[in-house]
Point group: C2
Chain length 327, copies 2
């Protein structure tokens, strides 16, 4: 999928699988094995957020598009994220201690340096998944369910599983525990792409699940800075596509994309889990689909990105393989 060149040598190579799927669930294009079973990790947060909307919880608690974007986010822990998630917690009458995601040092430099300078440790609200967890807490409150909302048997996770199986069109063969302690359900790459195509075509349908999916896509593309953060691939590439496409990264080399204008879903998994390769590969596929400009500065940051060393000298390049470009 992606090669790393230095001087005249191919220094490293990332293999992987990718699927482009239409709204009927059919594979339009694939690389590698579309039926490989993966954990989508954070790439499926919009699926995990569906019950928040379909249950009526989002309406009851007056959640805006900003809240919904944060529910789908792997954020940087910058003030724009933690202020909003903190206010959301207040609104629910909950505190940081009600989260079950664990603390994480923010990736945002200002927030990170601020904590270090204050000799403070991060809170759970800084966790990149705190928006998803605020969504879980909201749904749990709406359902009147217990506090251990990441337990596999908890109604919140069972609702997430139902939404996951409905949109992927497959029974999940199992789950792993994610970095944020929530269950992450396995599916095939084809299943994940099918779920993304469900979101891509949602605005054409009027059923409750589709209306919720359309709202979540709208929230993601409206607030790209809330879905990830400044300097991050999801934010920068969504901005470069001017609201035409929603994309979401996941740990261990997963990336998903929702392309409403073509009613297509995209899912990819780098076999070795490398983010540099998932970012380069999703950019290459979006360029191929004609929805991302190859010459946009944001695209150039992830696809055909120069490798700069500590004196700013260009020593190599990270680029899609010829298979991915031409195949």
């Amino acid at each position: 999928m992606t090669e790393v060149r230095r001087g005249s040598l191919l220094e490293s190579l990332h293999l992987g699988h990718a699927v482009v799927c239409d709204d009927t669930g059919q594979i339009v294009r694939s690389w590698g094995d579309p039926e490989t079973v993966i954990y989508p990790r954070s790439s499926c947060k919009m699926v995990q957020a569906l019950p928040l909307v379909t249950s009526g919880a989002a309406g009851k608690y007056g959640l805006t598009s900003e809240h919904l974007a944060l529910a789908c986010a792997s954020h940087n822990g910058a003030a724009i994220h933690t202020d909003r998630v903190g206010a959301w917690l207040d609104q629910l009458g909950k505190t940081d201690g009600d989260f079950r995601c664990g603390p994480q040092m923010p990736a945002d430099e200002e927030a990170c340096h601020g904590l270090i300078r204050a000799y403070e440790t991060p809170c759970q609200v800084h966790n990149n998944c705190s928006g998803k967890h605020a969504g879980f807490l909201t749904l749990s409150a709406h359902m009147g369910a217990g506090p251990e909302y990441v337990d596999i048997d908890h109604p919140v996770q069972q609702a997430a599983l139902n939404a996951f199986e409905e949109t992927t069109g497959l029974s999940s063969p199992g789950y792993g525990i994610d970095g944020c302690s929530a269950p992450n359900f396995a599916t095939t790459l084809h299943g994940l792409a099918r779920a993304m195509a469900f979101f891509a075509s949602a605005r054409d349908r009027s059923d409750r699940q589709s209306r919720a999916a359309a709202r979540l896509v709208e929230a993601m593309v409206r607030h790209p800075e809330l879905v990830a953060g400044e300097g991050r691939a999801c934010t920068e590439l969504m901005r470069a596509m001017n609201g035409r496409v929603a994309i979401k990264t996941g740990a261990e080399g997963v990336f998903a994309a929702i392309v409403p204008e073509m009613k297509l879903g995209v899912a990819l998994k780098i076999r070795d889990g490398a983010t540099r390769a998932s970012e380069c590969s999703i950019a290459a596929i979006l360029v191929r689909l004609g929805v991302l400009d190859a010459d946009h500065p944001a695209t150039r940051k992830y696809m055909n990105a120069p490798i700069l060393n500590r004196r700013g000298i260009e020593t190599g390049i990270i680029k899609p393989t010829s298979d991915l470009i031409a195949g």
Copy 2:
């Protein structure tokens, strides 16, 4: 070489190549393609340091085993490293501005947080390669050569190339520019393992190059904390082997090992460049060779390491593949 499991699923997989070579240059054991051409990156710093000793520069400037360990190091930028490299610069009558490695934020938490709290940016002495560059500056001063010591035509780099080709037993097919701006010469994985076997058997020979190699190995195993730093694989695994083996990591998934008691050299390259896999794989090979205890806590940190999430829950494991263990 290494697999990453989460729940019941193989989530990610790292392919790679590895070679164990004896002191005659013959392959004792290999995985993948031993003739694959790689950049050794920092794994060959002890080779780059050979001319520092063979030229007489180390003797002339009174370098101790600490200096030589730092010349072979990819260090954390902790005070134990930067204090010593800073004093070395002083001794040469040079300043931080004479380095050509570029600045780098230290990986050492105390040093990193100290800079952030002081609103300071890192210097070149913080660069993980600053010991190697202090060695280059020393050799350059000894040779009376010019200040641009990372240029490919500079006598320092030509001396490094000669040592590299002598110990690998191969003409280098080319070079790339490393993260620290020094040329990094390409060779086969077999060539790198052969160079490591040259170091492993050096104390049996009395030629100048071999005596220099033996001194460098002695320096590395005597000062494991200078070769990397607290919490790092090279330091922790060398300590676990009680001075019996010298090991060195390199960027993009390279690892090399020198096993004097068996006169063996080891070199491995993870195809995708992942450090988590090169660390796990070198530990597995050292266990196989009988020089590293599989049950030592340091071994367990890199081989069969549990993946802990942000609440400290074990969610998976990073382990060698059955091919690597049994093959």
